[in-house]
């Protein structure tokens, strides 16, 4: 970690938490407010170390809890600062009130969720339940597959969030345990190139805490009284417009990243071996690596299976999802979290929601695995592929399958 920002340093070996901290350093963030919580804690420690070493020129505010973390950053953002924090699980729950207000105030701050399964049952291990639980709050959410993607996406997140057509906060989600602590070789982008890529911060052009241009931020809209419901509706619709704009901006920013740094990531969804696929898996996050291996093994056996990884979950890229599945006969969606209402997974629910726009009904099944840090192996994905292959041959979709039920 002493390698950070050494002149001409190109490669480091780091875990996802350090990669996020390196990205924050490269993005020249002005203010970080944090409260440590497993499995995010080492990310905070890296940030504190980089700041103490003089490599990260940011104010680091240690506050008494996550509610204050985000409240502090609201003030900083309205004063014009580029801001960052990270949390997970119970910390995210404690942050909920200011978390809800952040997108409505159109604050382009970036927050990593080092995903953790929610309590209860007691768990300090990975799972997407925390991030998925806040999927309707209006933050952009991007889920990473690799440590490199964590680093690159965290930097890109600032450019996406601060785009004037977007102006929304971004959650970069990386899997607790698997990405937070999994160390790998990682390429560091050039510092000057990152600075040029991100450009000058301009985060409070729309709402500012500035004594020289006084204004009230987020006053009562009047609801159904005062100026009438139209004002509230206008701001809500504005948020939706920003979200939909972000689909285009996310693609543009990823394309520019690839041009500048010569290393690319799929912006909305990644299609893996989908060209001639008869059926497909849908994955999200770090499980995708094992799933791709399982797809390769099945391909060697002559099975025409492909995979779609959803990176951008919020806003949900429904058009490209429908397009990706236009030739497949069956789909298996693997979630790392639970949709309690439908007795299946939230990603499954989104995918079938999008597929309602498809010209024909495609049979789909929900698979839930990797809860509370459980490993998802090629063996698990092999079972998923067999079940989906059966559907492609005309078998009926069944009830949700819990992949680690007997592990």
């Amino acid at each position: 970690m002493s390698a950070v920002l050494k002149p001409n340093q190109k490669f480091v070996v780091c875990d996802g938490n350090e990669a996020a901290a390196l990205a924050v350093t490269l993005a020249q963030v002005d203010m970080v407010a944090v409260y440590p919580i497993t499995p995010q804690s080492s990310l905070v420690e890296y940030l504190a170390k980089f700041a103490a070493d003089g490599k990260l020129d940011a104010e680091i505010v240690d506050v008494e809890g996550e509610h204050s973390v985000l409240s502090v950053l609201h003030g900083a953002t309205l004063a014009g600062a580029r801001t960052y924090t990270a949390t997970c699980g119970p910390g995210l729950a404690f942050m909920f009130e200011p978390y809800m207000r952040t997108p409505g105030m159109r604050m382009p701050l970036v927050m990593t969720i080092v995903t953790r399964d929610t309590l209860t049952p007691q768990s300090v291990w990975g799972g997407h339940q925390d991030a998925m639980s806040v999927r309707e709050i209006g933050w952009i959410q991007m889920y990473c597959e690799t440590v490199q993607e964590v680093l690159d996406t965290t930097i890109m997140a600032y450019k996406i969030a601060e785009h004037h057509d977007v102006m929304l906060p971004v959650n970069v989600c990386h899997d607790g345990n698997y990405l937070s602590y999994g160390a790998t070789r990682c390429e560091l982008p050039d510092k000057d190139k990152v600075h040029a890529f991100l450009g000058t911060r301009d985060v409070n052009w729309h709402a500012a805490l500035d004594p020289e241009r006084p204004m009230a931020i987020d006053p009562l809209t009047g609801g159904a009284g005062g100026p009438g419901p139209a004002m509230f509706v206008r701001y809500r619709k504005g948020q939706c417009t920003g979200m939909q704009n972000s689909l285009r901006v996310i693609e543009e920013v990823h394309a520019e990243w690839e041009r500048v740094f010569g290393r690319g990531h799929s912006p909305l969804i990644e299609q893996y071996r989908m060209e001639d696929a008869e059926y497909a898996l849908v994955t999200i996050g770090s499980m995708t690596g094992a799933a791709k291996d399982a797809v390769d093994e099945a391909r060697e056996r002559g099975q025409r299976v492909g995979l779609v990884k959803v990176k951008t979950f919020r806003p949900f890229p429904s058009k490209v999802v429908v397009q990706a599945f236009k030739n497949v006969k069956a789909i298996g969606v693997v979630d790392r979290s639970v949709n309690f209402s439908w007795n299946n997974g939230p990603l499954f629910q989104e995918v079938v929601g999008a597929l309602y726009q498809a010209p024909t009904r495609i049979p789909a099944m929900s698979f839930i695995g990797g809860l509370a840090g459980a490993d998802l192996t090629t063996g698990h994905f092999g079972r998923v592929i067999e079940r989906v292959a059966d559907m492609a041959r005309g078998g009926e979709p069944g009830e949700t399958v819990w992949l680690n039920q007997d592990d």
């Binding site: 500035d210 020289e212 241009r213 006084p214 009230a216 931020i217 987020d218 006053p219 504005g238």
Partner: protein, 96 residues
């Protein structure tokens, strides 16, 4: 205590569907529902500005040799009285 250096923020230059903001003052003032009002003892006031610093609604007004209050905005919270290091402020009931 200084005058505004810039022109007031012109909200018409930004989209009206981003963050709700208000750059014109709200006519509702707390002066008419205050139950206690602060009164300064000018003999004790040394113009240290502690009341000015602490007043949450910034209603403390600078006079030649003392500080006074804009009673249109003062909500009567009494923080100035509590913080004044010279005991120069008392809170007086608004009744009658």
């Amino acid at each position: 205590m200084t005058k505004q250096a810039k022109a007031p923020f012109d909200a018409s230059t930004i989209p009206n569907d981003l963050c709700p903001i208000a750059s014109t003052p709200n006519p509702m003032l707390p002066g008419d529902w205050r139950s206690m009002r602060p009164v300064v003892n000018r003999d004790k006031c040394v113009k240290c500005a502690v009341c000015w610093l602490y007043c949450p609604v910034q209603c403390v007004v600078e006079k030649a040799a003392w500080f006074d209050f804009d009673l249109a905005t003062c909500k009567g919270c009494g923080i100035c009285m509590r913080e004044c290091p010279h005991g120069a402020i008392t809170m007086v009931e608004e009744a009658s």
